[in-house]
Structures are given as C-alpha cells and as structure tokens.
C-alpha cells in the first residue's frame, strides 16, 4: 500500500461518526451509496444542493486520497458505515493525532489507513499546506513512512498484524476460521460446565 496524494483538510478535533455519516443513512441494508452521504450535514444545504465552500465538494478533494483532521477522529458510535463512506468517497488514509478505538479497527478492516502523527508533525503539515495547498504527500505502509517535499522524515506506527493484513490483503474472518480446532477445544473445556443461553 503506497500512494501519493494531495491533502484534504477538515481541521476540527473530535470529529464524531454522526458527522462522518449521520444516523439516518444507516437504515440501509447494503454498503452502497455511502460516499455521497459522507459529512452530509456539513456538505449539503437544506434543499440538498452541495455547499460550494465545503471542501469535500471541490474537484481537488474528490481526487484526493488523504483526509487530514484534528485529534480523536472517529469518536462516537461503532458504525462501520463511517469508513465505508470515507473509502467510497476515495480516501485511503486519515491523518490525525489520535483515533477512537472502534473507528480505528473498523478502518483497518476496510483498507483505510488511520495514520497517527505527533502534534508537532500535525502542526508542520498544517504549515506546509498553508504555504502550498497543492502539496503532495506520500504514504508508504511497508516502510511506514509519511513524507512530503521539504517536510520531516516521518515514520508512523502501525500494529504488525494490521500491517500484514493491509499489505497481504488478508481476510481476517478467513484467518479466524482457520482456528477451528482451537475454538472447538475451548468450547469443549468451557461449556461442559456452563449453561448456554437457550434450550
């Protein structure tokens, strides 16, 4: 997983999943069509027309793969619709100083990289973007680097297993199902003594 991209900034702390995708769009039984609903209430007017000044409605953002936001991104609900909407819009990474736990897990399962940077790097990137809004950043998961021309050499941390899954395209559910013998052994040990819920 390696790409270059311009950067789309939504600089607010604590962007919650109700902003990323409002609850009323969760009535769907599929994963489709969520990209257009990303940040819906910030993005569209009451009559449904796009707000021209909202960043996600610009052509530049639509071509961008990196969303750059404030601290504690993705807090709130467990809805996986949030990373579905972000990836359907076209993002492959979100850069922030921290992520909410469930959002982070959900993102990794959908090939959306939650890229954590320090406060200093966050500030440096903001300044670099101020100087050059068209700045191109490079993300490379294998060496865990996040760089831009004239910027610091940033290496980010990522859990080794998550990295392996991203790079090798591992299907985690398939991986877990390979543990059939372990699961059966555990069940045999545990449920010989405990009642089950029904029956």
């Amino acid at each position: 997983m390696k790409f270059e991209s311009t950067v789309t900034q939504i600089q607010a702390d604590n962007i919650d999943t109700d902003q990323i995708i409002p609850a009323r769009f969760l009535k769907t039984i599929s994963k489709d069509g969520l990209g257009d609903q990303l940040f819906f209430d910030w993005r569209y007017n009451a009559d449904g027309s796009p707000k021209a000044d909202f960043i996600l409605n610009t052509e530049k953002a639509k071509a961008s793969k990196v969303l750059f936001a404030g601290d504690n991104f993705g807090c709130g609900s467990s809805r996986e619709h949030a990373p579905w909407a972000l990836t359907q819009y076209g993002f492959q990474a979100v850069v922030s100083t921290s992520f909410a736990d469930i959002f982070k897990q959900n993102s990794l399962k959908n090939r959306l990289l939650p890229l954590v940077v320090s406060k200093e790097v966050h500030q440096q990137l903001r300044e670099a973007l101020e100087a050059n809004p068209d700045l191109q950043v490079s993300v490379d998961v294998e060496p865990q680097t996040f760089t831009w021309p004239g910027g610091p050499a940033v290496t980010f941390t990522i859990d080794a297993f998550a990295k392996h899954c991203l790079l090798a395209g591992v299907d985690e559910i398939g991986y877990v199902l390979q543990h059939e013998a372990d699961i059966a052994a555990y069940e045999a040990k545990r449920f010989s003594t405990l009642n089950t819920l029904v029956g």
Partner: protein, 469 residues
C-alpha cells in the same frame, strides 16, 4: 506459586483466550453476541457470500430498536427503508436460527436494556454488539464492548474476535452523592474531567464507595457512557446486588447451576495489589447535577455554572472547537445554562430508560404540568419496562403532566425512527450523545439526568431540580 495479582479486567480477559499466535492479536471467545437491525445486515450478507453458518446461535440474540418506531405497535412501520431493515433482521434471525425479539414481541426493547432484563448478561462474560454502548453490560462485571460490522460477521462466523488487550483504568468514585445528584451526573462529570478521548485504548473499572452504593440500574447508566469518555468498555465488579438482580431472570442459571455460577462470580474482583495502567479519583460529595452545553459529551459542567469562554482556552484547536460548539448551540460565552429556553424533553435511551429512571422522572412530574411550550417524550427502554411502569401507574402521571408515553426503542437518542428535533430546537435529553445533529439535523441537545430533564420540562427552561418549588 501464588499467581500475580490481577484486575477483574485481566481475569475476564484471561478466561476467554482461545489462542495466542506470535505476531497476531489474541483470539477471544465471546459469550454473548447481541445483534440489532442497523449494524448487522451487511454481516449476514457476508456470511451468505462465504457460505458460513452462525457458529453459536445459542450465544447470539437479536432484537430491533434503532430504526423502530415508538408509535403504537398496532400501526405499521411507515418508513419503508426502516421497515425493510426490521424485516431483514427477522429474516436473518430465522434463516440462521437465532433467538429473536421482533417488532411485535412483547419483550422487544433496546438491546442494552433487554440483555440485563432477561438475565442474558452475566458476570464474567465477554459481551459484544455492533453498538458502542455495549459497555452498559459491564455493570454486571462483564467485559462488554462495541464492535463494527466486520467484527459482527467475525463473531457470527467464529464466536471469537481478534483483539488486542486494552489498558486498564481505575475510575474510583468515593463518598456520597448529594440529593438531586445521580449516576448520570457521575459519568457526565467523568467525561467533562478527562474529555471524550480520555479513556481511548482503555477499559474502565469503576470502584469506590459511591459506585458500590449504586443500584444495578444506576451502574448500567455509568458503564453505558464509558465510550463517551473514549473507553471501549467499563465495568463494575459483581457483588450481592448483582446476584440479587440476576436471580430468577429468564436466562439466568437456575437451581444448582445458580449456586455454581455465584461461586464463580464471586472470584471476579480485582486482587489486592493488582495495578492499573491509569487511575483517577472523583469525589462524590462535591458533585453537582451536571449538564452538557456543547457538541460532545465531554463539554459538560455543573448545572449552576456558566457557559465557558473560548477566550480562556490556550490550545488553538480546542479553542476553535469550543467556539464552533457555542455557535452551533446558539449559546453565549459566560451565560448561565440554567434558564436557557428549551423545546423538547426526552427521557429514554439505553442510558436512562429503566424503571428507576422513569420513577425519578415521575417523582418530579407528579402533580405538575409540563410547560405548554415543551414537547415531553417518555420512552421506556423495553416493552417489559413499559408494562411495569403502567402497573405502577407511572404512565398516568406522565400523561396527566402532559407528556407523551411511547413504545420502547432508541427513539430520539439517535433520531432514526422519525422521533427527532427540528433544526434549531433545544432539548434536554437523558440520552448519551449531544453531537451535532444526533437528535435530528440542526437539533441542539443538553444531556442530563431524568430528574433534570423532568424539572426542565415543567419550567420550559434548563432547570436545576433542587430549585423546583
């Protein structure tokens, strides 16, 4: 050799490890998987694509709550998309052989209300649900946390979850709550103190005399909002109150099995000498009724306080967040929150929709009238609670006061079912999130206890229940 002292969090974790492989997260067994209509359809589709069955339908339980109307059950679901979603869960439950409380079932209710109510939730269990307020079940000493839809599919398929161990965080609450101060105020105070990201990566254990003094329902209120302080889970070690609550419930162990279970559950305490990664102490005596003023649950304060001024915040991003929040909320820096006009009061949600919450609201509303300018909605957490409240005559108190008495569901907590604020409206809500638009696009939410909500309904403005004549 004496084993190393462990926290209850570590004990529950250790009891559920199925496998540990070098370079991978632990494989954790899940004892109870609760499923609702909103976060599961894509997971069931995934199972079909894989040609995989649900491994343990006997450890899985479905109900509908989120997009479910709270209008009389004799009426059909008007919203066709919601109706499809509700029908889809019913179909999935039948096809995969999972027990199910459907829309018309007499025991339907909010997923985090029906689990404990039916004795599904038990001490020492691992409990998951595609819902971030799964932490509610931690009140029983269970390790309970929210998961995403891919993880729902994983648990359906394998009854296990790939998990990395969280850090432990002791939240000690010592002392005695003053009259008018509730469990909700404890958790709102915690959110205000450590912020909504304060518990990220952690599981809380709530300890201390003020927690021990809480009823099971109150403990559920506290654990419920652990996620609002960033923690994935929060729990309270079980004690006699826990066992008392569970005894005789539908799915609780019976007879000899009950005695065996209680003996096991009694081991679920944090050992003397065990250490936590983080800890904080809250003084219960000094707590006031709390209310939020902003657009996340960490933006809370004592109800007698004034709205903070962004000018006093040093961090630029934080200052900007607060400024934006006040603009959204239409509040002035420095204004008192008490006396702020409101349009709606919502008593409900998995945080505060149980009998004790309804009794608290009824206690304030009895013999009084809600302000004619306020729409007051009382939404019980389950059909069982609804019946019980009606048997006690609470519904009559609510109706006499001019409040609406509705059917069970999430309702205006998440505004997916038609119960919602209109743009600009203010509400005092007993739910758990005040994010922009959470209760309806453009709606503005003050989170508070049922007592505060009821007092505010009467006065038509944000009101400290202790000032009610």
């Amino acid at each position: 050799m004496p084993s190393k002292p462990r926290t209850i969090i570590e004990k529950v974790w250790d009891n559920h490890i199925v496998a540990e492989r070098e370079g991978a997260p632990s494989l954790l067994f899940i004892d109870l998987h609760l499923v609702h209509e909103v976060t599961s359809p894509q997971a069931f589709s995934g199972l079909r694509q894989r040609g995989v069955k649900v491994r343990r339908p006997d450890l899985t339980f479905c109900t509908v709550d989120h997009s479910t109307p709270t209008t009389p059950r004799s009426l059909p679901i008007v919203d066709p998309i919601a109706a499809t979603q509700v029908a889809q869960l019913e179909k999935n439950a039948q096809e995969f052989g999972i027990p199910y409380f459907g829309f018309q079932n007499r025991d339907q209710g909010i997923v985090h209300v029906i689990g404990p109510e039916n004795g599904l939730t038990q001490p020492g269990m691992t409990v998951v649900c595609g819902d971030s307020h799964t932490a509610t079940h931690g009140a029983f000493g269970a390790l309970a946390f929210g998961i995403g839809t891919s993880e729902v599919e994983m648990v359906l398929a394998a009854q296990t979850l790939l998990q990395k161990k969280s850090k432990s965080y002791e939240v000690r609450v010592e002392g005695t709550l003053k009259p008018g101060v509730t469990a909700k105020d404890i958790i709102l105070a915690l959110c205000a103190k450590i912020g909504i990201g304060g518990g990220t990566g952690c599981v809380f254990e709530y300890t201390g005399s003020a927690i021990r003094a809480l009823s099971m329902e109150e403990r559920m209120t506290v654990c419920n909002m652990s996620i609002e302080a960033g923690a994935r889970a929060g729990l309270v070690a079980p004690d006699e109150k826990t066992f008392e609550y569970l005894k005789g419930r539908r799915f609780a162990p019976k007879g000899e099995k009950w005695d065996e279970a209680v003996a096991k559950w009694k081991e679920l305490v944090t050992d003397e000498g065990a250490t936590y990664d983080h800890s904080i102490t809250i003084d219960a005596d000094s707590l006031e009724p709390m209310i939020t003023f902003g657009t996340n649950p960490g933006m809370g304060m004592a109800i007698s306080a004034n709205v903070p001024d962004p000018a006093n915040v040093t961090d630029s991003l934080e200052r900007e967040s607060l400024r934006k929040a006040l603009v959204y909320m239409g509040l002035e820096a420095g204004q008192p929150i008490a006396g702020q006009k409101i349009d709606v009061v919502f008593v409900g949600s998995c945080t505060n929709s149980r009998m004790s919450d309804l009794r608290a609201a009824a206690g304030v509303l009895k013999g009084r009238k809600v302000s004619p300018s306020v729409r007051t909605m009382i939404v019980p957490g389950s059909q069982e609670i609804k019946r019980q409240a009606e048997a006690e005559g609470l519904d009559q108190i609510f109706k006499d006061a001019g409040a609406e008495w509705r059917e069970a569901g999430c309702s205006m907590c998440i505004a997916m079912n038609g119960d919602q604020l209109t743009p600009g409206q203010y509400s005092v809500s007993t739910s758990n999130r005040n994010f922009e638009g959470r209760q309806g696009k453009g709606g503005r939410t003050f989170l508070a206890s049922p007592q505060t909500a009821a007092a505010s309904a009467i006065m038509g403005v944000v009101t400290d229940v202790r000032t009610l004549a």
